[in-house]
């Protein structure tokens, strides 16, 4: 008789850990192996660009599981190890160094890797994905550099807000017409732009980066596509991230923008994906999606663990996300397609306290609140109910 094989989870961040916790919490008592490519015990990422970068929290506050909690998990924890290959037919994961771990079932939760631009290797150019990245960036911000943040999505806007909150000279650059415009549309993008400008951050929108200017190997400036040059002592690249699927090339699994799963988050028999890396068909919105937000990492991992244990349930959530910038807390439920029509339901944009709905094909698909958490939660039901587009209240 062959040895029993574990459920293997590749990725030991929020999704991977949640999957492991759910399996144990629901009574799975077989072997469990959790593989993570960072040395640190699992930690929470959203505070990296907020409280950790600002220095208001220390890293002990973002630990995802206590030592006791990890002990209780009764899992083999392989940290600082990367998966480099997957053998679907013979059911094994290959690690760096060549070690092979056979599995009975596999959960892919490898997340995303930040995109880079040419010149990203210069001294003074930072990325922010890991705790080490955040601590290093904070240490350098304390030297009071002139800062250029490239990319005005969730991460870039939050980093700019923190750096500006430290009193630094900050410029935020993005080729789109406004910050967060691809995520939230033109009108909310304009409100985000005003927020940053009012707090003293310089905005350079509708213009891209041509190249980094360096003295020897250290960055000294950023040349934009309109020919202008921004002097900089420190540059942060926040130009998005790509699903970490390089190790799956050649596995035969369908890959595109992430691991291409079905509505149950399954990609092959007994192989599932969860979190930032997973693309799946969301029946609620009748569309394929991949979500890089914190709540989804947990909820999708719980759904995947449940399906591994026989739930046989489609994962059809209403996604949630939030962003903290200066005194603004932006929260949203649902999806925000570029062609959706935005309607302010309560409050007004100028007061920066409002709730808006986003409608697509005559149905409310998203609601967004700006400093309006309770009001937003009540209106989430519009998305759950696929309410018809409504005029302002």
């Amino acid at each position: 008789m062959s040895r029993p094989k574990p459920i293997v989870i590749v990725g030991a961040s929020a999704a991977g850990l949640s999957a492991a916790q759910t399996l144990r919490g629901r009574g799975y008592d077989g072997l469990l192996t959790l593989i993570g490519d960072e040395q640190q015990l699992p930690y929470d990422r959203p505070p990296l660009s907020k409280q950790i970068l600002a220095g208001t929290w220390t890293p002990d506050k973002i630990v995802l599981a206590s030592d006791a909690g990890l002990d209780k998990l009764d899992a083999e924890l392989l940290l600082g190890r990367s998966a480099v290959g997957l053998d679907v037919a013979e059911r094994g994961v290959v690690l760096d160094g060549g070690q092979r771990i056979d599995f009975d079932a596999l959960i892919i939760a490898t997340g995303v890797v930040p995109r880079r631009l040419p010149g990203a290797g210069l001294a003074g150019v930072h990325l922010l994905r890991t705790l080490d990245d955040a601590l290093s960036l904070r240490a350098h911000l304390l030297g009071r550099p002139r800062v250029v943040v490239v990319g005005a999505g969730f991460l870039g806007t939050e980093i700019a807000a923190v750096a500006r909150g430290m009193g630094l000279d900050v410029t935020l650059v993005d080729p789109r017409p406004a910050p967060m415009q691809p995520q939230l549309g033109d009108r909310i993008g304009a409100v985000v732009a005003d927020l940053h400008t009012d707090h003293g951050t310089s905005l350079r929108c509708s213009v891209g980066v041509r190249r980094f200017i360096a003295a020897a190997t250290r960055v000294t400036g950023v040349e934009l596509t309109d020919g202008s040059v921004l002097d900089a002592d420190l540059v942060v690249l926040a130009v998005g991230a790509s699903p970490a699927v390089g190790w799956l090339a050649g596995s035969g699994l369908p890959l595109g923008d992430g691991v291409q799963c079905d509505a149950h988050c399954r990609v092959a028999p007994q192989i599932y994906a969860a979190g930032d890396v997973a693309s799946w068909y969301n029946n609620h919105f009748h569309t394929r999606m991949r979500v890089e937000h914190r709540v989804n990492a947990t909820e999708q991992a719980m759904a995947v663990a449940g399906n591994l244990l026989g739930d046989n349930r489609a994962y059809a959530p209403v996604p949630y996300f939030w962003s903290d910038q200066y005194d603004a807390r932006i929260q949203a439920y649902g999806i925000f397609p570029p062609e959706a029509e935005m309607t302010v339901l309560q409050g007004d944009l100028a007061s920066r306290r409002f709730v808006a709905s986003y409608s697509h094909h005559g149905t409310v698909v998203g609601v967004l609140g700006w400093n309006s958490p309770r009001e937003l939660r009540a209106l989430r039901q519009l998305v759950v109910d696929r309410a018809p587009s409504s005029p302002p209240m």
């Binding site: 949640s18 916790q21 759910t22 919490g25 929470d44 959203p46 506050k61 973002i62 995802l64 914190r294 709540v295 947990t298 909820e299 719980m302 949630y320 939030w322 903290d324 807390r329 929260q331 309006s372 958490p373 309770r374 937003l376 939660r377 989430r380």
Partner: protein
């Protein structure tokens, strides 16, 4: 079961209220969590565990008691 909340970590997502409205609420002014019942009855335990698991701010701790 004993439920503990950390308002300094809460981001006002309201996920806990969606999971267990009998146990959690949000302050009117900023949406920060408030606790309605720190010792909820057994029929709410599963919902409270779910609330703790999905809280994006890790602001809810559940102490299971024998």
């Amino acid at each position: 079961m004993k439920v503990i909340i950390d308002q300094s970590k809460c981001i006002g997502s309201g996920q806990c209220v969606l999971s267990a409205a009998e146990v959690f609420d949000q302050r009117d002014e900023d949406g920060i969590v408030t606790l309605l019942n720190a010792d909820p009855p057994p029929e709410l335990h599963e919902a409270v565990r779910h609330a703790a698991a999905v809280c994006p701010a890790l602001a809810i701790t559940v102490r299971e008691q024998p």
